[in-house]
């Protein structure tokens, strides 16, 4: 592995970590789509700042872009507040409009200037090790500039999360309560928006605007399928993000394809794998548990059915092993096997094809009935 490769991977990992940190809160607060909007509209901030300074490397670009991100969110929210537009539509209105303005500005005014829009959308992480993009200080080479910037962003993000961990937690899971204990969740919301904007701006130089969305949403959502605890989710999501970065880099290397695209692909694959195979919330284990639970539930149901008809006129008909499936509307074979299980576990007896409860079965049935019934 050459030093250039190492640097690219480091930058990819740093970007993924910065994005994952914000992403966790976006996913939990159902704001993922704001990252989509923000990552598109930062372009207008960059364009305006660029026209004002004429310098593609000016730090003002960062400021302009962040402002544009925050502005986007405020615009979406004020549209929503009018009451005539819902949130999804508001987002769908604002970001294409701002993005279009940016595209037009570029095409009208910057014919001769080099403002590479495609690079904005796709990123140029592959150019990281170039000599012109290095941070040099006093003759020493401190590595790529973008890596330094990204690390700074990570530090800020971590700082924000540690400082306001309690507030973030409360306002994420119970905004009403956070208001009740006397701090305004809106400030936390704004802080989060600010941090998402900054992160999006810094990251999309590397991975492009659309893939920022992937790095914010996918690792966080993957972690969300693996844990319930916020702190663990944060750590997991960073690890998954780094995994996307490294695997994505080598996939791109192997295919000779876009690094950002490969990172997003890996992020998608990891999410997909987790979606199906996660130990507790994966689709397969959920199905498996449902199957077992279903069986248990059906046994309890059978017993409840027997109690409900015990001693009634229709008992002979309702509890007859041969017509049972007609009443419960189950598959005949399945009904037999559930009934057999009931007899096997000494919950019921079979007398002339009629199932009758044993004392044990009756207790289980009454307990099951109690579980369902709620006395408020």
């Amino acid at each position: 592995m050459t030093q250039a490769q190492l640097e690219i991977q480091l930058l990819a990992m740093a970007t993924a970590v910065a994005c994952s940190l914000c992403g966790v809160f976006l996913v939990l607060r159902r704001m993922s789509l704001l990252s989509d909007a923000i990552s598109h509209t930062v372009l207008i901030g960059i364009v305006i700042a660029f026209f004002l300074t004429g310098d593609m490397t000016s730090p003002w670009l960062l400021v302009g872009a962040t402002t544009a991100g925050v502005f986007t969110v405020l615009l979406v929210e004020s549209l929503q507040k009018t009451g005539v537009v819902r949130e999804d539509a508001a987002i769908g209105l604002v970001f294409p409009a701002l993005f279009s303005i940016a595209v037009l500005l570029i095409s009208i005014f910057s014919k001769n200037v080099h403002l590479d829009m495609d690079a904005v959308l796709v990123g140029k992480i592959a150019l990281t090790p170039l000599p012109s993009r290095r941070l040099e200080f006093g003759g020493y080479d401190f590595g790529p500039k973008s890596l330094a910037l990204m690390i700074a962003i990570i530090i800020v993000n971590i700082g924000f999360i540690i400082l306001f961990f309690k507030e973030l937690k409360v306002s994420t899971f119970d905004p009403a309560f956070s208001k009740a204990i006397g701090f305004n969740p809106y400030w936390i919301h704004l802080g989060l928006v600010l941090s998402v904007s900054t992160t999006a701006v810094a990251s999309f130089d590397a991975v492009g605007s659309i893939l920022v969305v992937a790095l914010m949403a996918a690792p966080a959502a993957t972690a969300y399928l693996l844990t319930d605890k916020l702190s663990i989710m944060l750590v997991l999501s960073c690890i998954i993000g780094m995994l996307c970065a490294v695997l994505g880099y080598w996939l791109a290397h192997f295919l000779d394809a876009s690094i950002a695209g490969s990172m997003a692909t890996v992020a998608g694959i990891l999410f997909g794998l987790t979606f199906f195979f996660a130990p507790e919330r994966g689709l397969f284990s959920v199905w498996q548990r449902a199957k077992i639970r279903d069986r248990k539930f059906k046994l309890a149901l059978l017993l409840v059915h027997l109690t409900q008809h015990e001693g009634t006129i229709r008992e002979l008909e309702e509890c007859n092993i041969e017509s049972l499936h007609l009443h419960l509307r189950w598959d005949e074979y399945e009904t037999r096997s559930v009934a057999f299980e009931a007899v096997e576990s000494f919950c019921a007896l079979q007398e002339n094809k009629v199932l009758r409860l044993t004392p044990k079965g009756r207790i289980i049935a009454l307990e099951s009935l109690q579980i369902g019934t709620n006395l408020s």
Binding site: F297, S368, L369
Partner: protein, 249 residues
């Protein structure tokens, strides 16, 4: 052998061992219920007792784990055409671009077939229903500009348009002014007198005796069902609601 003339009177609804669950938590436990035709039935029970679930399973909107429901002796997919459903008011977006007339007219869609459009006959039916609930003057008002009671009247009219044999109503009195409540009750009585059956999810225990002939007490399982005078007793209520509830008489 039964002759053609003494055909057995079908039950309006015949529910057989119906169990509905959310994951492994039973919402309805092995319900058996037979509702005679022409009854005005109140479904009563505490929150989470499965009242809405019962209605939705009868309509086939929820799939039961076990058991079945029959509508006038027919399986659900056949019998559903004989039912008019009044959902909870909060279940729809009242900012939808539709007028009172549009919403009520939707009740005629079921009998129109795939390509049919509402024509003169349907418009007449719609107007009649609006007249009945006293909303004809507001026919062209946007639905977001209605009060809670008016919204409920619109839903009621949409059900009336269907000229169904059975009416299933989910909390029609929720958030409704007393005038509207009274006129809904009037209408229900009128429907019953014409031979229709109505099942109404109801909250206010005080009015059960005045409004309904029949009552179903529900708390996940069926506590009791039958004519109000037989079933709506202190003992049964305690079984359904726990010991804190009384009729306050």
């Amino acid at each position: 052998m039964t002759g053609p003339n003494d055909k057995k009177m079908e039950f309006a609804l015949e529910i057989n061992d119906l169990t509905v669950s959310y994951k492994d938590k039973p919402v309805l436990w092995d319900i058996d219920l037979e509702i005679p035709q022409g009854a005005l039935v109140g479904i009563v029970g505490p929150n989470g007792a499965g009242k809405t679930t019962l209605i939705k399973s009868i309509l086939g909107l929820l799939k039961p784990v076990a058991g079945s429901a029959k509508i006038l002796g027919l399986e659900i997919d056949q019998g559903i055409k004989k039912i008019a459903y009044v959902p909870q008011r909060g279940s729809v977006d009242w900012d939808f671009p539709a007028t009172v007339f549009d919403v009520v007219q939707m009740g005629t869609y079921g009998k129109l077939g795939w390509l049919g459009r509402p024509g003169i006959k349907e418009k007449k039916l719609t107007k009649d229903a609006l007249e009945k609930v006293g909303m004809l003057e507001l026919a062209h008002r946007q639905i977001s500009q209605l009060s809670g009671g008016q919204q409920q009247r619109v839903f009621l009219a949409r059900a009336l348009v269907q000229h169904a044999e059975i009416y299933l109503m989910d909390e029609p009195f929720q958030g409704v002014d007393s005038t509207t409540e009274q006129s809904i009750v009037e209408l229900l009585r009128e429907l019953r007198n014409q031979g229709a059956t109505a099942l109404v999810v109801h909250h206010d225990l005080q009015t059960v005796k005045d409004y309904f002939d029949w009552v179903v007490l529900l708390n996940v399982r069926k506590i009791a069902a039958g004519p109000v005078s037989d079933v709506f007793t202190e003992t049964n209520l305690k079984l359904a609601f726990g010991s804190r509830v009384s009729l306050g008489e």
